[in-house]
């Protein structure tokens, strides 16, 4: 009898959980899944001359991926996003370490400082970099004074500027999951590693870094995926040779009014991202199950 009542209670709890998550599922369905599917469908329609979507069906839009420009843009997009991810991790891992080692009173303040940039509009923050990096900007003048760049050179409108602003805007997304992992990390393990003869850096890389592995995976995903799709940053601080896939999609959608081709590019990118996320998720799940199997 007890068992029966128990399982019944559990079942009603499960259904309660179901109802509670329903709004978020509904939100995702209405504002993410359905629009994505609509874009996917449009990618198989013919374009019409007025810039709308025609009536015919075609695979021609997807052949846009075979265009040499697009292949070059894809490679650059992956490369720039990967470099931005690596730089963000290289900055965020030590940052997470220090935040976790700080006294709890200070941690809150540091966390707030990490989050504060979000209070300012994304676009405005990118424009702020334009002010800093333009030919009369503070950073440009300093760089010129030190002699890093010549008189005619500019810090703006090149891949370096895109990378810099990408790292700047995505760093908090890397710090937050890493901090969450580092806060749970048992720092006495580092004492143990030191005790067993490891130098401070050896202890950091062979105990701390694997210890926050889940956080590193999440942080990499949080930087790499949005970077793949970003187009505002190369649009504002980048030059012609730093265009990314996002810019091509925007150009097809807004300037050329070729919505089906823009949809094919956007859908392809989205599918690639979903694939990456699925692989990472799978990896983490197998790691987690092997850890918890008792």
């Amino acid at each position: 009898m007890e068992v029966n009542r128990d399982s019944k209670a559990r079942r009603s709890l499960v259904s309660a959980e179901w109802w509670l998550t329903l709004p978020s599922f509904g939100w995702l369905l209405v504002f993410f899944v359905i629009p994505s599917l609509i874009i996917l469908v449009i990618s198989f329609r013919t374009p019409d001359v007025t810039g709308g979507v025609g009536d015919g069906w075609t695979l021609a839009n997807w052949s846009a991926w075979l265009h040499p420009d697009v292949r070059m843009l894809s490679l650059r997009t992956v490369w720039v996003s990967a470099v931005a991810t690596v730089i963000c991790l290289a900055l965020a891992v030590p940052m997470a370490w220090f935040m976790a080692r700080w006294s709890p009173a200070w941690r809150g303040t540091l966390l707030l400082l990490v989050i504060i940039p979000f209070w300012t509009n994304f676009l405005i923050r990118i424009f702020a970099w334009k002010v800093l990096l333009n030919h009369d900007g503070l950073l440009t003048r300093i760089a010129r004074m030190i002699g890093i760049i010549g008189d005619g050179d500019s810090l703006l409108y090149n891949p370096g500027a895109v990378l810099l602003v990408l790292v700047y805007t995505h760093l908090p997304f890397a710090i937050l999951p890493l901090y969450a992992a580092a806060e749970k990390f048992d720092f006495s393990l580092l004492d143990a590693a030191r005790d067993l003869g490891a130098s401070a850096s050896r202890a950091f890389f062979s105990v701390f870094v694997p210890g926050i592995g889940a956080g590193i995976g999440a942080a990499a995903l949080m930087v790499f995926v949005p970077a793949l799709g970003c187009y505002l940053i190369p649009d504002i601080v980048g030059g012609h040779e730093s265009d990314m896939l996002g810019n091509r999609i925007a150009q097809r959608a807004f300037s050329d009014r070729n919505l089906p081709e823009a949809s094919a590019l956007a859908s392809g990118l989205a599918l690639a991202v979903i694939l990456i996320a699925a692989v990472l998720w799978r990896l983490q799940r197998t790691a987690a199950t092997s850890k918890s199997a008792a």
Binding site: D191, A192, A193, R194, D195, L196, G197, G213, K291
Partner: protein, 367 residues
């Protein structure tokens, strides 16, 4: 070697608090040395100073005559078994044990033989590929010991080695630790708040309180001749009877008085002037109760009323009232059932030998 690991006038202060206060201890090579004391007495700080996780505010730490005070933990020939074991969760049992040798850059073949040898010592060959989360507390403990011992440390430091285990396991690990020590012969220094652990494992014990060493000696010395009232009360149970020195006699002897008891002659722990207030400590097992008045030849005998009788299986404890004092007496139940006749509430005779009475300085508690 007499002076193998030496703490030479070591002090560690945190602000105005002296966690370790001018401690000098010499630990012999190959011995099992216990640091015993209540929490906050400075024993763990002392261990961390020996491991190199912390630096003394003043004083020196010497190992085999070499000053190691300034050496970082990875440069000391000393390894630690942590209280929570601190096993690396992402590494298997095998990899955990191999960690020290890998860091030292030993050859693969050497690491393999050494790790197998260690797995044999702790009898965990079958669990080599498991992660720490998949093995039991006692097994983790053994892995932590193997991981430390594989580096052939000159001193093995153990921080509360048995505290995290349940009672049954603790007794088994106690024997196992003794066995491991016999096999490897390394100097063991361990910290504990459990007097039973300290007594059964150690060759010598330092009893610490408020950052200072109260007494250093063999378990037997510390139990039978505690030099302070703190040690007497911390190690085992005892009765404290406040009294005073009536007269200082020859040969370090003195006549001691306490209300409710006849004056008796004893050898105090130190020389007291006549009139000094003292604490007389008598262990419960040294106090006997009888219904008939015993012949008081050389015994301190007093009339008492039995207030409580507690039956504990192998022994019984009696609380007896003598004047203002409540005195505990203990009696083992062997084949002799003579004291079974003593019942709660009855009047009886209490007696002990003056040789079993320790006369200690009466200190007002520092805490």
């Amino acid at each position: 070697m007499e002076h193998f690991l030496e703490f030479d006038d070591v002090t560690r202060s945190f602000g105005a608090v002296h966690a370790v206060d001018h401690v000098s201890i010499s630990i012999r090579q190959g011995e099992v040395f216990g640091l015993l004391g209540p929490s906050g007495c400075g024993k763990t700080t002392l261990l961390r100073l020996a491991a190199g996780f912390d630096q003394p505010t003043s004083g020196r730490i010497l190992l085999n005559g070499r000053d190691i005070t300034a050496l970082p933990p990875n440069k000391r020939p000393v390894n630690t078994v942590f209280q929570n074991y601190a096993l690396f969760p992402h590494l298997s049992v095998w990899e955990n044990i191999a960690f020290g040798l890998r860091v030292a850059g030993r050859s693969k073949a050497e690491i393999k033989t050494e790790v197998s040898r260690m797995l044999g010592l702790i009898q965990l060959e079958a669990h080599a590929d498991k992660k720490p989360a998949q093995i039991s507390g006692g097994q983790k403990q053994r892995v932590a010991i193997a991981r430390a011992l594989i580096n052939k440390p000159e001193v093995l430091l153990l921080d509360e080695p048995l505290a995290a285990l349940d009672l049954k396991l603790r007794q088994r690990m106690l024997l196992e630790l003794n066995k491991i020590h016999e096999e490897v012969g390394t100097t063991f220094v361990f910290v504990t708040h459990d007097q039973g652990e300290a007594m059964s494992l150690s060759n010598r014990i330092a009893v610490m309180n408020h950052g200072r060493v109260e007494q250093l000696g063999t378990p037997h010395e510390i139990y039978t001749a505690p030099s302070t009232s703190f040690v007497a009360s911390f190690i085992g149970d005892t009765n404290f009877i406040p009294g005073k020195i009536a007269a200082a006699g020859p040969n370090d002897r003195a006549t001691v008085e306490a209300s409710g008891f006849p004056a008796f002659d004893a050898v105090p722990q130190k020389q007291f002037p006549a009139g000094a207030a003292v604490l007389i400590s008598v262990r419960p097992e040294k106090i006997s109760l009888s219904a008939e008045r015993p012949p008081d030849v050389g015994l301190v005998v007093s009339r008492c009323q039995v207030e409580d009788v507690i039956y504990l299986g192998s022994e019984s404890r009696y609380a007896a009232r003598v004047g203002d004092h409540r005195i505990w007496a203990a009696r083992l139940h062997d084949r002799d059932h003579s004291s079974d006749s003593i019942r709660k509430g009855q009047d009886a005779w209490l007696h002990f030998s003056p040789d079993d009475a320790l006369v200690l300085e009466a200190v007002t508690d520092k805490a």
